[in-house]
């Protein structure tokens, strides 16, 4: 991978900062009752989506789980449309029909947020199948959490991707808990990247709190998929600072553990790195904060201003033929 210029590095930092501030605002909006249902925050894991998606071309595909606000933002989806979707409004990405767990954006080849654990893995594999079928050199990035590796379709999709040499990179975001169940309580082999061995494909672990390490690792895997049609499994070791969803009582882990992990906050780590490399001055950071806060405020304004979807939309988009 080539070395990034200062501007590109600052763009990565801005991206992570946007995810963080956007989701802090989401939590606030949820408490105010403007966002309903389940809200799964990505806070703590921002380096993974930011680093991974930064290596893609616009025609590549991204598919993710229900913890996908960050992936949608990294893919370039409009923050206002995302917020409007979370508010259940007509101008949301999916007209208010999807919600937090189901963000889709065809204009950015974002194949959606999927809320059955591992359900998106064969679907992402199908997008990669289509690229190969049509002789295109697109790559699919397929994101899922650590709990997904214990579902049956994880195995089925990996088997098919390896068998058919599909251009896909699977990214397992190991945040150490499937809801409240720690990885070691769910599977005997804790090094999840080693699952790749069973399918004869490359498997690698990467520090998911280090955006540049993620970028490097995923970048190589994407090139491998694009040029040689070799699928890979990347295990990004990360940690979620917030609960599984807003309803999480947090009984399954200690405050000390969370505080310890927060010492490795990916946003702080990367900010410090850029500062140490003399690429980021305090004034630059303040300017970024200001810019990002303005983007988030504008997103909320956009969402607030958007009307509720008209009731006439209830039964549209069920069938193409009845649209």
């Amino acid at each position: 991978m080539r070395t990034l210029e200062r501007k590109e590095l600052v763009d990565l930092l801005r991206q992570m900062l946007l995810m963080r501030r956007f989701e802090e605002k989401c939590a606030e909006m949820y408490t105010m009752g403007k966002i309903g249902g389940f809200l799964h925050l990505y806070i703590g894991q921002e380096a993974v989506a930011t680093g991974a998606i930064s290596v893609l071309r616009p025609d590549d595909y991204v598919i993710a789980s229900y913890r996908e606000h960050g992936h949608a933002l990294a893919r370039g989806c409009d923050p206002g449309k995302i917020m409007a979707e979370l508010f259940g409004r007509a101008d949301g990405l999916c007209k208010g029909k999807g919600g937090s767990m189901h963000l889709f954006d065809k204009s950015h080849n974002f194949l959606g947020g999927h809320a059955i654990v591992a359900g998106q893995i064969p679907i992402g594999t199908g997008a990669a199948f289509a690229s190969q079928y049509e002789g295109k050199d697109q790559v699919t990035l397929c994101f899922f959490g650590d709990a997904a590796v214990n579902q049956g379709v994880f195995h089925e999709a990996f088997n098919l991707a390896a068998l058919w040499h599909l251009p896909i990179v699977y990214i397992c975001e190991n945040n150490r808990y499937g809801m409240g169940t720690a990885v070691e309580r769910a599977t005997p082999i804790k090094e999840l990247y080693r699952r790749a061995e069973a399918y004869g494909i490359p498997g690698e672990a990467v520090d998911g709190m280090d955006v540049l390490a993620v970028r490097e690792c995923v970048g190589l895997a994407v090139e491998r998929a694009r040029r040689e049609r070799i699928p890979s499994l990347i295990e990004a070791k990360t940690y979620r600072f917030r609960g599984h969803s807003m309803a999480d009582p947090g009984t399954y882990r200690t405050k000390e553990e969370i505080e310890r992990e927060k010492q490795r906050d990916p946003l702080v780590l990367f900010r410090n790195h850029l500062t140490a490399e003399a690429m980021l001055k305090e004034s630059d950071w303040k300017a970024l904060e200001k810019e990002v806060r303005a983007t988030v405020e504008e997103a909320v304004r956009y969402a607030d201003a958007s009307p509720e979807p008209p009731v006439e939309w209830l039964c549209t988009d069920v069938y193409v033929s009845e649209r």
Binding site: Y61, I63, G92, L93, C94, K95, G96, K97, G98, H102, F104, D105, K106, L111, G112, H114, I116, G119, I121, P122, I123, G124, T125, G126, A127, A128, F129, A130, S131, Y133, E134, G152, V153, E156, A157, N159, L160, L163, T316, D317, V318, Y319, V320, S321, R323
Partner: protein, 325 residues
């Protein structure tokens, strides 16, 4: 008009649609080298090659999901279930994913795919290979469900299903693959959601599809000898359902018998019966009668299997009951 088997009719539909559209491919267990477990895909590997006739491992949820993803980005997959009972292994992909992606994405991504294969009881296939799977899917908004009963319908409807922009559950039957019938020469399609009067009559309407259609027609013939005129309505597609055709027929005959091969409780016949009661109540001279499979898993023993399924005698009895004979 040529007389061909139901199997050949399906094969022709697959072949014609694959020639017509390079985005169409067939994927499933034993569809290629083996030529199809029931030979529906016979000769297709030879014509279209392994890129488009794709043998899979036994992995229904996996390859159904692959079909969904491929359909979302522009291909038109045909996913074969060796028997539709195996679709239960993939039901999360079908119900939670394929059926809902158009809606959840606010109309951005559609899933133009066909999931096809045989379903319903056959010859002593026992409990896990004999289910009438339409009743597992008809409840799900977003899915279309087709159950053709004749070679002509099988061909015309499969072609329409492949061209359709929504996910279509297309259930064939082991018992029908070898049956023969007239099929129009040249290109034709039959639209989804349009039923057909398979036999005109005056006294009573029987609603029946797939294998039950054949049974209904046999019963109608017997009843004709007794001076009872039976109209047989074949909906062909169960979702969307041609309610207009059914209602029109019932308003004419004032009596209805609804058939299905699967277990009766909660079966598709409950819905059809409900629609008739709702929309033709004032025209009914008797309550709607249902002839269904027994509420038990399908047994292996020949005599028990026979007892589980609707029989001609039960159809005749039901018709006489609504006629108060």
């Amino acid at each position: 008009m040529a007389i061909i088997t139901y199997r050949e009719a399906l094969n022709q539909a697959l072949r014609e649609e694959m020639r017509r559209d390079p985005r169409v491919f067939l994927m499933g267990e034993e569809v290629g080298l083996y030529q199809g477990a029931y030979k529906v895909s016979q000769g297709l590997l030879e014509e279209f090659g392994p890129k488009r006739i794709i043998d899979t491992p036994i992995s229904e949820a996996g390859f159904t999901g692959v079909g969904i993803g491929a359909a979302m980005v522009g291909l038109r997959p045909i996913i074969e279930m060796m028997t539709f009972n195996f679709a239960l292994v993939a039901i999360d992909q079908i119900v939670n994913q394929a059926a809902k992606i158009l809606y959840m994405s606010g109309g951005q991504y559609n899933v133009p795919m066909v999931i096809r294969g045989p379903g319903g009881p056959a010859h002593q296939l026992a409990a896990q290979h004999s289910q009438s799977m339409e009743s597992y899917f008809y409840h799900v908004p977003g899915l279309k469900i087709v159950r053709p009963g004749t070679p002509k319908d099988a061909k015309g409807l499969l072609k329409s299903a492949i061209r359709d922009d929504d996910p279509v559950i297309f259930i064939e039957s082991e018992l029908l693959y070898g049956t023969k019938g007239e099929v129009p020469d040249g290109e034709y399609t039959i639209p989804l959601g349009v039923g057909e009067i398979k036999r005109e009559g005056r006294d009573v309407t029987i609603v029946a599809y797939s294998t039950m259609l054949l049974l209904a027609l046999q019963a109608a013939e017997d009843l004709e000898k007794e001076g009872i005129s039976v109209e047989v309505v074949d909906p062909r597609t169960l979702r969307p359902l041609d309610t207009e055709l059914i209602i029109e027929s019932v308003r004419k005959t004032n009596r209805a018998v609804v058939m299905e091969s699967g277990a009766g409780f909660g079966g598709i016949g409950t819905v059809i019966g409900e629609i008739i009661s709702e929309q033709a109540f004032d025209y009914l001279d008797a309550p709607v009668e249902r002839v269904t499979g027994a509420n038990a898993p399908t047994p292996y023993a020949k005599n028990l299997e026979r007892a589980k399924a609707p029989s001609k005698e039960r159809v005749v009895a039901a018709v006489k009951k609504v006629l108060a004979i």
